[in-house]
């Protein structure tokens, strides 16, 4: 799947930048430093926007395109921020055959965003994730740490309403 690129303005803090610089300094002389730096940078920022990737490219003296290429190759990296509430819909085999596709469709409809996107106000993001190991509850979704199982499409409006208040 092609990675979605966020259009939400970047608002990294000075602390985050200082942390990123530390991370870069720590890995600068390692061969293949791009991978670990991207991993740790994502822990700091939650995602890897162009501003962060530029700092990594400059810091490691590699082309920005190389950093971007790695960040779009691996599914663990995200180019869009996570919202205040991150909704993960499991698309593992069990959830999928039990109708997770319809669940994610409905959420998409309500929030006006696709998978791997974040609403413009930063409140909600939507992730299509792989098996989370709760196949007995299929289809299953999580909103941050809250888990919702045995879902029907009709349940979705009510669940989201709780977080919209």
């Amino acid at each position: 799947m092609q990675k979605k690129i966020s259009s939400i303005p970047f608002n990294g803090t000075a602390e985050q930048e200082a942390k990123l610089k530390e991370i870069i300094a720590k890995h600068k002389d390692d061969p293949g430093a791009v991978m670990p730096v991207l991993q740790e940078a994502q822990e700091v920022y939650g995602y890897l926007p162009i501003e962060v990737q530029k700092m990594i490219a400059e810091g490691l003296s590699v082309p920005l395109e190389e950093v971007y290429g790695v960040s779009t190759f691996y599914s663990q990296f995200s180019l869009t921020p996570k919202g205040q509430y991150n909704i993960s819909v499991c698309l593992g085999t069990a959830c999928y055959v039990k109708g997770a596709g319809k669940i994610i469709e409905r959420i998409s409809e309500i929030l006006g965003i696709g998978a791997e996107e974040c609403t413009a106000d930063g409140r909600f993001s939507l992730t299509a994730c792989r098996c989370i190991g709760a196949c007995g509850l299929a289809p299953v979704m999580t909103v941050n740490d809250d888990v919702y199982g045995r879902l029907e499409v009709e349940d979705i409006d009510g669940i989201l309403a709780k977080y919209m208040a």
Partner: protein
């Protein structure tokens, strides 16, 4: 050198240990098909077109990256298994290709097309791939990317990285993999230097120069326009390749005839502009040395190099010579001195340049070129585009008689001829600077230390008591190495020549395409450069300041090198550009 005995298809051979199967087969007259392999820069064994059987190996091996390191290795290059595997790979590549050969600019020079013919592909639809549609990237003035034709060989990515630019790469994965720029930016929005090396190595029509030949035909067909063409030093050394002539043929005479038959009103030589560049540049250099100007001075003929410096080393812009490139100087003189002399309104002149270069298409549109709204050059086409024009006009190039450039701006020197090879500008400048400083007509005019295709060359000369330490770099990776030393203060050169493309203009991004099967086993740069050094040797005049055309130009019009008028017409400025 340790030799080992091997067998290829049952025949005994002896090869140097660790020779790859690909190289060994080449030595013994067996062609192994390759798509991704480019010697030294893209040895990734990814495309699987070159697979062979090795006795004892678990599976087929990639010939391009398989070193033969065992005595008695038995290799099979042509078994049914090998043939079937290669053909299936090819059919799978085609499954995700747009297969619009008839309208493809690379039809006839496409490595994929040739391979299909070699393998007797009889059904290009055997597998139906995802075939997503990609919009062309036509954002730049100089090249077009069409990812519908891309086979993901990554040769362009390697060439770009080799240039220390690296603005293109493989993004996403699986069927979504696409060669492009970071964050889906267009090529015009990233720090691409416009060198076009990617177009020279692309096996298909995924990356091609922006075709400006229609504009040239339109100008020629406009009865109100006087269309003047001039050709860069490196064109005569390569154009013949487009017509099946051997690499390194100097086709100056045929080229001039072809241009006249195409209908250009005047055919001039950019070598004139090269001689003029030397006059201005040698004068500028001597001035900087005597007056404590910024040193080292770095040459400014190569627009890909200029753009590289502006994006990646903006702090070194003051080191660049302020001289325009020979292309621009020639255009500026045509639209001023020549127009006045011939009593032509410069607005009615269309100047077309034939260049070995895609970056020249960018250079002609720079804000800091031309004057009073009048562009120095109106259209710049590559060697490949000229060949295309000649073919479409039905001109039988190889059968043409020779003719001479129009003498007004067409009598040139050997110093200008060698501009097309790395080290040539340096040598030409040294010839003139040495004569100027000694006030003599020196007989020792060859500078072998700065010749040859090595990426970096250094030398120290005693020029009339003045110690001059020079460096010559071609290919931006080598340029970066030199520039880093200048930045850190480690280097104490006075004069540096930098050419964007490895080997200089003879290997420019607009030069005839030679397939990887040739590039991997031939020293293109050296063969083409030899044609220029031979031309230099055989010309009666070999120093720029001896050119009668240049002398007359200064007497009648410019005064002396570095004069106010010369500055107005022949010098320029640069601008720092963003890296991301």
């Amino acid at each position: 050198m340790e030799m080992i005995n091997i067998k290829i298809n049952g025949m005994p051979f002896s090869v140097e240990k660790n020779t790859t199967i690909l190289e060994a087969c080449k030595q013994f007259g067996i062609k192994i098909p390759t798509l991704c392999f480019l010697k030294d820069i893209n040895e990734i064994g990814a495309c699987r077109m070159c697979v062979c059987e090795v006795k004892g190996a678990r599976s087929l091996v990639a010939a391009c990256v398989y070193p033969i390191d065992r005595e008695g290795t038995e290799i099979f290059t042509n078994t049914k298994k090998v043939q079937e595997s290669r053909k299936t790979t090819l059919e799978l590549i085609l499954s995700n290709h747009d297969r619009k050969c008839l309208s493809c600019p690379r039809s006839g020079s496409c490595e994929l097309q040739e391979m299909c013919a070699d393998f007797g592909i009889d059904n290009e639809n055997r597998f139906e791939g995802a075939r997503p549609h990609y919009e062309n990237d036509e954002s730049t003035l100089y090249l077009v990317r069409n990812n519908n034709k891309c086979v993901l060989c990554r040769r362009c990515v390697a060439a770009c990285k080799e240039q220390f630019v690296g603005v293109i790469g493989a993004n996403n994965r699986g069927f979504d993999t696409e060669i492009g720029c970071a964050f889906e930016q267009k090529l015009a929005d990233v720090a691409c230097v416009s060198c076009g090396q990617c177009t020279a190595v692309c096996p298909t029509g995924a990356l091609v120069e922006k075709d400006d030949t229609d504009k040239v035909f339109d100008a020629i067909n406009d009865p109100d326009k006087i269309v003047i063409v001039h050709t860069a030093p490196a064109i005569r050394a390569t154009l013949g390749e487009c017509f099946g002539m051997p690499i390194g043929s100097n086709v100056k005479g045929k080229m001039v005839t072809a241009l006249k038959r195409l209908g250009f009103d005047k055919v001039f030589d950019t070598d004139f502009g090269a001689d003029l560049t030397i006059m201005e540049e040698a004068n500028e250099f001597i001035g900087r040395v005597k007056n404590g100007g910024v040193l080292p001075m770095i040459t400014s003929c190569s627009p890909g190099w200029i753009k590289f410096c502006e994006h990646y080393y903006p702090d070194l812009l003051p080191n660049l010579s302020s001289c325009k490139s020979p292309q621009q100087m020639t255009g500026a003189i045509i639209k001023s001195y020549y127009a006045e002399k011939e009593n032509i309104d410069p607005d009615n002149i269309v100047v077309v340049s034939v260049m070995p270069c895609t970056a020249k298409k960018f250079e002609i549109k720079r804000d800091d070129q031309g004057r009073n709204g009048l562009a120095d050059i109106d259209i710049s086409i590559t060697t490949r585009e000229l060949a295309k024009m000649i073919k479409s006009a039905g001109i039988q190039f190889t059968e043409l008689p020779d003719s001479e450039f129009d003498p007004t701006l067409g009598v040139t020197t050997g110093a200008a001829a060698i501009f097309g090879a790395t080290g040539g500008v340096m040598e030409a400048a040294l010839r003139t600077a040495a004569d100027t400083l000694t006030g003599e007509d020196l007989k020792e005019i060859e500078y072998p230390d700065v010749r040859g295709t090595k990426g970096i060359k250094e030398a120290e000369y005693d020029v009339a008591g003045l110690k001059v330490k020079v460096a010559v770099a071609s290919g931006l990776k080598n340029a970066a190495e030199i520039l880093d030393k200048v930045r850190s203060g480690e280097a104490d050169y006075q004069f540096i020549e930098i050419m964007c493309c490895p080997g200089g203009c003879v290997n420019g991004g607009g030069q005839p395409i030679q397939p990887a099967q040739v590039r991997n086993f031939t020293d293109l740069k050296a063969l083409r450069a030899k044609a220029l050094y031979d031309e230099d040797k055989n010309l009666p005049l070999r120093k720029s300041h001896e050119s009668p055309v240049v002398k007359k130009l200064y007497e009648e019009y410019l005064g002396e090198p570095g004069s106010h008028k010369a500055h107005e017409l022949l010098h320029t400025t640069y601008v720092a550009r963003k890296k991301y």
